[in-house]
């Protein structure tokens, strides 16, 4: 039962409550840095690190931090992890860091991270909080990657900088410009909602069939 519970917290972030496709959170980095797959993954990894780290600490200290100053404490914890991620990226992958620019420090203001601290990590035991953070961050990474991959393939004819099509491919430059982010996100959200609609319809049919057989 315990194991199922953790699994449930993990998987909900990846799919059912995906932070981007279902909750529509963290749109700013989502639209800004997904112009190539590698940028999207770097941003996803940085957010992953910050979210899991902060959820762990916030959940561990949830009984020590007075309610009145909890938000300030969350922000201090998040900002510390963001600074660590910022310097680590600058030292290890300076090229990617240059591309992401101001969006790394802006992870502090990502509503997804603060939202998870307030809604989940500060109320649940550490194990569940970490599972929840892993799921949400994984879902965010997945969403960033899908957008980044689509936009790079269409906008640059490449994936991870490797050219996929021949010389004759004319890149859809608009896809790596800001409007491309909105277009891609719109199409993906459309798919998610269509899928959810179909699933609900299917479940209703099943329920109706079961009632009929009784």
């Amino acid at each position: 039962m315990k194991k199922n519970e953790s699994y449930e917290e993990f998987i909900k972030g990846i799919w059912r409550d995906n932070p981007v496709f279902v909750q529509v959170l963290g749109m700013c980095p989502m639209l800004a840095v997904t112009n190539s797959a590698i940028n999207a993954i770097a941003m996803g990894m940085a957010t992953f690190f910050v979210l899991v780290g902060s959820s762990f600490l916030v959940s561990s200290f949830r009984n020590v931090i007075p309610k009145q100053v909890r938000i300030s404490c969350f922000i201090i914890i998040i900002a510390t992890f963001v600074t660590i991620a910022d310097y680590t990226l600058l030292a290890l992958v300076p090229k990617v860091h240059k591309e992401l620019g101001a969006f790394i420090p802006l992870i502090v203001a990502n509503c997804l991270i603060l939202g998870r601290q307030e809604a989940f990590a500060s109320r649940y035991p550490t194990r569940l909080a970490v599972m929840d953070a892993l799921g949400m961050a994984g879902g965010f990474l997945l969403a960033l990657f899908s957008l980044g991959a689509v936009r790079e393939i269409l906008g640059d004819g490449a994936l991870f900088g490797v050219k996929l099509f021949g010389e004759n491919f004319e890149p859809w430059v608009i896809m790596i410009l800001p409007p491309g982010g909105f277009l891609t996100l719109g199409v993906i959200l459309l798919f998610f909602n269509w899928f959810k609609f179909k699933k609900d319809e299917f479940l209703e049919d099943v329920a109706a069939a079961e009632r009929g057989s009784d």
Binding site: N35, V64, I65, P66, K67, Q68, V69, S72, C73, I76, I77, A79, T80, T83, I84, Y87, T88, L90, A91, L92, P94, K98, G101, G155, D156, P171, V173, I176, L177
Partner: protein, 227 residues
């Protein structure tokens, strides 16, 4: 906040609130100092290596370099330049003979400041290479100033007299003309303007060809001084 008042009827003292935040800030500060100190050497080394690579790229045939600044109306070799003091780099071949200058330059582009480094050979009065160090030009359009290899190659033998002129792609006829990029005219012209402006600013300060400062710094020293 109904649930709060049921759980804790008395709110915690101000001292406890202040103390919690102070401790959180202190721990956070220590963590940040730690990560800053531990990544600083790598970051500095990365930057120095990038700069060396760029200098060697814009000045073909260069094997050694040293930073130069303009002080007391002449060009002098420095270990480390003062902050905000414009630095250029002298490039020398493996015998220590002067080859040319690598000139850092920056100016407004289409979106944000473009920072470049260009190689200049004073004897021929020619630009011999150009490398974009920093730019936020539009992906897919303006970023052709460093992704379009034809455009970059146009700077490998470009006369700077009387000044560089960007012309419509395919119409280059003079040694001081360069083909602009279709779809990135503003960014391409910005690069040309940046080089012209920097050249004009420095031309009075560079010594006569043949009397450049000799190579003074050893290989290890200039790596450290390169910023």
């Amino acid at each position: 906040m109904n649930t709060d008042s049921q759980k804790a009827p008395t709110s915690p003292s101000s001292l406890r609130l202040v103390l919690t935040l102070a401790i959180a800030g202190l721990v956070s500060g220590i963590a940040i100092i730690g990560i800053y100190e531990s990544t600083l050497p790598t970051i500095t080394a990365n930057k120095a290596r990038e700069l060396r690579a760029a200098v060697f790229k814009v000045l073909p045939g260069v094997a050694q370099m040293q930073p130069l600044v303009y002080r007391d109306s002449k060009l002098v070799v420095v270990e480390a330049a003062d902050k905000d003091e414009p630095v250029i780099y002298g490039g020398y071949d493996d015998q220590g003979e002067f080859v040319g200058y690598a000139m850092p330059a920056a100016g407004p582009g289409f979106q944000d400041t473009i920072a470049i480094l260009y190689g200049y050979k004073p004897e021929q009065r020619m630009v011999v290479g150009m490398e974009v160090l920093e730019s936020r030009e539009t992906p897919g359009l303006g970023d052709k100033i460093y992704k379009d290899l034809e455009f970059v190659a146009g700077f490998s033998a470009l006369s700077i007299e009387p000044e560089i002129v960007a012309v419509k792609k395919g119409t280059k006829s003079q040694p001081n003309e360069i083909d602009a990029i279709t779809g990135a005219t503003i960014s391409a012209k910005a690069i040309v303007r940046i080089i012209n402006e920097t050249h004009a600013a420095w031309s009075g300060q560079l010594p006569a060809p043949g009397s450049e400062p000799p190579l003074e710094l050893s290989e290890s020293a200039d790596t450290g001084a390169g910023q």
